[in-house]
Subunit: 151 residues, 2 copies
């Protein structure tokens, strides 16, 4: 699960918008709040707008705000908007894969892996991520032995 710079930035921007919801905030304010390059932030906000996750207003007093309440937008949606599907195998979606021989059962494994990712990223709203009050299932994952250790 590789999260790109775009993806990380998008989530940080979305969280900032969530915390200020429903106020309208400019790209430069958002960028400096999270220490991101302004122009790049603009590009990302364009993606989020096209995905209907944020609404924008031009002109003085313009800026961006979440298109829905922060409890109704998941982190997964934000990531998908800028990075595409959450899980892909060699550029294909898990259920589109197909193999022969000893690998015939692999598609099921890819689908399971994607389901696991979704069970976290699609189940956590911006509101929860901003407040740190994660769903129990998710919180349990971070409490597990070894969850914070590299492998």
């Amino acid at each position: 699960m590789q999260v790109s710079a775009r993806g990380e930035y998008a989530v940080r921007i979305a969280l900032t918008l969530a915390a200020e919801h429903p106020r309208t905030i400019s790209a430069s304010t958002l960028a400096s709040a999270q220490g991101l390059p302004r122009k790049f932030a603009e590009v990302i906000l364009g993606d989020l707008r096209r995905a209907h996750l944020v609404a924008s207003a031009r002109g003085v007093e313009g800026g961006y705000r979440l298109a829905r309440g922060p409890e109704r937008i998941s982190v997964g949606e934000v990531l998908r908007a800028v990075d595409g599907p959450l899980a892909e195998v060699r550029g294909r979606r898990p259920e589109e894969t197909s193999y022969e021989g000893a690998a015939v059962n692999l598609p099921r494994l890819w689908v399971a892996a994607r389901a696991a990712v979704r069970s976290v990223l699609d189940e956590v709203s911006l509101e929860q991520a901003a407040s740190g009050e994660f769903p129990v299932r998710v919180a349990e994952l971070t409490d597990e032995e070894g969850a914070w250790a590299p492998r």
Copy 2:
């Protein structure tokens, strides 16, 4: 969770070796069994060897075999050997991330997402993946409503 061509190929090769364990199989046989470019398969097998997941023998009658029993190697280990860490955020490990403002809780979310991925890929052995007899927890994920549908 993007699985690269290398990653996918590595798992398919590993599964083929698992099915034939403990026989020694040549790179060309493995490659044609799974329809992969032979030279590329050699590179990947080199990675797997350096990670001590396969053992190799040179010369006529040479080839590759799993370094351990297929029930003692997880799919996650194979993927790590060729693609590096299972989860990274902007090139960093989840527990190494750190943010300010509305994103302070984000590292916990990244760690949870990684734990979710691990709970599938590190809990499924090559033997299980080859036979299709996945652990209950994993099998349940593929049975869930919508698990096979794109988003």
